[in-house]
């Protein structure tokens, strides 16, 4: 692929079959570094399935997923989940998955596990290098808490936070693992308008200040259209549209996929009539 040179993630004809169901049917897309790419589509279109393929939870039946963290190609298809994460792919979940009985700050420390000195002996005897590495990790954790505006919650149990804060903490935790690519699965789900607006600003800031590439599943069209650089529309496991926000908005196939054939015609006639 010609487009590969300037990309962070490329999927080439990724398909996955569950029994008789073809959940993804040859998804090919290219994601450029430091961009926000939104994946949208009706329920059951295969958005989360695609996420699960990229992050290693599912193995694609066909096709390749290529991650390019530093210019070299890494094929993710056969790697275990934790290896993919160590390469720099982080994610959040539709149903929040925090470490509920650990404190907020500890959640962020766990995310840095493979950066800190986790040797047994150094930890038990608390060597100088161990203490230094721990202090750095704690410092890093504070940084992300500040970024999210959650410093005062540092010592609370993550499970006791209000819903909106839990969503934020999940993003912070993903960022603390120092990813090159972060996959956000409906980060604004269940948030009120203000919270969701704040989250948008944070996601934009992540890209601006930390150069991370963001892959975003989102239902809220306002969010998608206001922050994405690139939109991919899925339906029935296929890419039906792929381009800038304007291009996608005008694509008839997208309108049909969302509203159904007849509804779309109806809508057009109604808007015409009203106009």
């Amino acid at each position: 692929m010609a487009a590969k040179a300037d990309s962070i993630l490329v999927t080439e004809g990724v398909s996955i079959r569950f029994g008789g169901l073809l959940a993804l049917a040859g998804i090919s897309l290219v994601m450029r570094p430091a961009t926000i790419t939104a994946i949208i589509g009706p329920n059951g279109a295969g958005k989360t399935t695609l996420f699960n393929c990229i992050t290693g939870f599912y193995r694609p039946t066909e096709g390749r997923i290529i991650f390019r963290p530093d210019g070299r190609d890494v094929v993710l298809n056969r790697l275990p989940i934790h290896k993919i994460a160590q390469l720099g792919v982080a994610r959040t979940y539709q149903n929040i998955r925090l470490f509920g009985q650990m404190s907020v700050l500890e959640n962020l420390l766990v995310a840095q596990h493979h950066f800190v000195n986790h040797r047994l002996i150094s930890g038990i005897f608390q060597t100088r290098s161990f203490r230094k590495s721990e202090a750095e990790a704690v410092e890093q954790a504070w940084f992300w808490l500040e970024f999210m505006g959650m410093e005062q919650l540092a010592n609370q149990d993550a499970g006791t936070l209000p819903y909106g804060q839990q969503r934020r903490l999940e993003v912070a935790r993903a960022m603390a693992s120092r990813p090159r690519l972060i996959c956000l699965d409906e980060p604004a789900a269940g948030l009120n308008l203000q919270e969701s607006e704040e989250l948008n600003q944070l996601i934009l800031k992540l890209r601006e200040e930390h150069g991370v590439s963001v892959l975003l599943i989102e239902h809220h069209m306002g969010v998608v259209m206001s922050i994405s650089d690139h939109v991919v529309v899925l339906d029935h496991g296929e890419v039906i549209s792929d381009g800038t926000t304007e291009q996608v908005q005008q694509d008839e196939r997208v309108i049909k996929a969302y509203l159904g054939e007849e509804d779309a015609e109806e809508l057009q006639s109604v808007t015409k009539g009203a106009g």
Binding site: F18, T48, N52, F57
Partner: protein, 303 residues
């Protein structure tokens, strides 16, 4: 040749017993996704109840063996079922929606409670029933033969009948439909007006009843038992359930018979002392290489 035949017969008998107990594990696992560690103790209790009711029949002067057996069987099944019900009600129901570890630990606690309760109530000694019935069927010559006791035939017949009844209930009755629906999706079943709490209780009662049939049959056959028999029988039956594919009823029976046969062959041709070790090793092997068992469906974790 005759030794092989004899071991196969013994294995089939043992396997039927494992299969009957395994039903309880597999049904409970299917419906609430937990291992009911106390299930082996339920089986042990049924062995005691059988002996107690049989003695009671004697006290009441019921002389005819078939009548006494029917009386005993009925009471044993009912009271054992009630034990199953009570265990669920007290130790598991309050824990719905608790942490993952909580029901397991509670089950271990319940298992200790039942074991020690029986030990305190009935004493720690081994109990023994005299052989009730002596009929024997011999196949083969004078020297070499395969011996099948009539009791063994009764065991196989009783197992087949119990399985047939259970399969009918699960597949063709409203109760069975409620069970299957609750197993598929508890919330949805609840919304559709199924009393899922009662359905779960019912599953425990059915599981306990099947275990009690096993307890009655094994006591009928061997005659000796103590308060500790539930422990090893429980692990073995669980192995059978896993072997067949946990959650699957025919799987439990299949797993039970396979385990019984292979254990019996191992005991007959390799070593008797280590037959339990063999069964546990089989469990580890199955779980490592085919965790869904022979007839189980793979579990898909929702992310």
């Amino acid at each position: 040749m005759y030794i092989l035949g004899q071991q196969l017969i013994n294995g089939l008998i043992l396997g039927s017993i494992y299969g009957l107990i395994a039903i309880g594990y597999t049904m409970v696992y299917g419906i609430i996704g937990m291992i009911n560690f106390a299930h082996g103790e339920i089986y042990m209790i049924s062995a005691y109840l059988f002996a107690i009711f049989l003695a009671l029949a004697g006290v009441f002067g019921i002389d005819s063996l078939p009548v006494a057996l029917l009386f005993t069987l009925a009471f044993t099944i009912i009271i054992t079922g009630l034990y199953g019900f009570t265990v669920e009600r007290m130790a598991y129901r309050p824990l719905r929606g608790s942490t993952r570890l909580a029901p397991l630990i509670s089950a271990i606690g319940m298992s200790l409670v039942l074991q020690n309760f029986v030990q305190l109530a009935q004493g720690a000694n081994d109990q023994a029933l005299p052989p009730l019935y002596h009929g024997v069927l011999r196949l083969g010559g004078e020297e070499d033969f395969v011996q099948i006791t009539h009791i063994q035939i009764i065991i196989v017949a009783a197992t087949v009948i119990s399985m047939a009844i259970l399969t009918y209930v699960i597949n063709n009755t409203a109760l069975g439909r409620a069970c299957r629906a609750t197993q598929q999706d508890r919330t949805m079943a609840n919304l559709l007006g199924i009393n899922t709490d009662w359905t779960i209780s019912l599953v425990f009662v059915i599981g306990a009843s099947m275990a009690s049939v096993a307890g009655v049959l094994i006591t009928f056959n061997f005659g000796s038992f103590n308060f500790f028999i539930g422990f090893v029988a429980g692990i073995k039956a669980f192995t059978a359930a896993v072997l067949g594919g946990i959650g699957s009823l025919p799987g439990a029976m299949l797993g039970g018979i396979l385990l019984g046969l292979s254990e019996s062959l191992f005991a007959g041709f390799v070593n008797t002392d280590y037959k339990d070790v063999f069964a546990f090793a089989l469990l580890v092997t199955v779980l490592t290489f085919r965790p869904t068992g022979l007839l189980g469906r793979p579990e898909v974790e929702k992310i």
